[in-house]
């Protein structure tokens, strides 16, 4: 099972990779911005993507729209500090499958990953 973690913070990518490992997913690619994420998603059949919102070059929201526009249907979980309701609605409308607001308890993100992949 292959996953993509997208966040401009290397530390946050490590935190999210740790959460994926707890779900027994260790084949993980990393991207530091939305543009890199779109490029990687074009050619790689990821089974799940964890996506930050505020990043350089291309935002997570724009990246989600582009990836969905390519016909990709894998679960995409937004993991972001954007906590306003309107933002959550925007993300879900753009094609995000689920939404986790930072700060989060590690068990919350693990639960969302498991649920998205039907591992529960």
């Amino acid at each position: 099972m292959k996953a993509l973690v997208v966040d401009d913070s290397g530390v946050m990518r490590k935190v999210l990779i740790g959460a994926l490992k707890r779900c027994e997913i260790s084949d993980v690619d990393e991207a530091g911005d939305g543009e890199e994420a779109v490029e990687l998603a074009k050619n790689t059949p990821y089974e799940i993507i964890l996506m930050d919102w505020n990043m350089p070059k291309r935002s997570g929201l724009e990246a989600v729209k582009t990836i969905r526009g390519m016909g990709k249907t894998m679960p995409i979980i937004m993991v972001t500090t954007e906590a306003e309701k309107s933002r959550v609605v925007d993300a879900l409308k753009a094609g995000a499958s689920n939404y986790v607001i930072k700060p989060f308890e590690p068990s919350v993100i693990v639960g969302k990953i498991r649920s998205a992949l039907g591992l529960e």
Binding site: D8, S9, G10, V11, M12, K14, V15, G18, N54, P56, T80, T81, E82, A83, E84, I101, K102, P103, F104, E105, P106
Partner: protein, 157 residues
């Protein structure tokens, strides 16, 4: 200074330490400060613009910053400098981002955050515009004492 603009940051700091780090934190002091500077350690800085304009500075002694990043990564390894800077900048990003959603709405206008910046080392003075009121909030935690300084421009007084 209206508490409606201060409490969201206190709540946000508490949530970050409790949920992501599993660490107890308690506010110990609050007062007006003359400037955003701190004598040493990490100063993780993020700007607010839009409905509310200002600057948020998370001030962490070196050891507290080290401990914070180790807890964030669930690792006992001593983080390298890049990882430390990245970790404390993500901390102020999460704290300010979470507080943003709790701040009073002004005429439906949104608030934007800048990308965070980290200054480390001694003897750096961080100045802010003359129309800025700086609030200094002190905290104690299981990782050590630290503070959050918030400079709001006079639009919210």
């Amino acid at each position: 200074m209206n508490v409606e603009y201060i409490n969201p940051f206190v709540v946000s700091v508490t949530e970050f330490f409790n949920t992501m780090l599993g660490v107890n934190v308690e506010r110990t002091s609050i007062g007006i400060a003359a400037e955003l500077s701190a004598t040493d350690g990490f100063r993780a800085i993020i700007g607010l613009s839009g409905a509310i304009c200002g600057t948020v500075v998370l001030v962490l002694p070196m050891n507290t910053g080290n401990q914070l990043v180790k807890r964030l990564l669930c690792s006992e390894e001593v983080p390298d400098e890049d990882t430390l800077r990245d970790g404390v900048s993500e901390a102020v990003n999460i704290i300010a981002g979470n507080a943003k959603a709790r701040l009073p709405q002004k005429d439906g206008r949104s608030i934007s955050l800048s990308l965070p910046t980290v200054i480390s080392g001694n003897g750096v003075k961080i100045e802010c515009p003359s129309d800025t009121a700086v609030v200094d909030i002190g905290f104690k935690s299981d990782l050590g004492d630290f503070s959050l300084k918030i400079g709001f421009q006079n639009t919210i007084n």
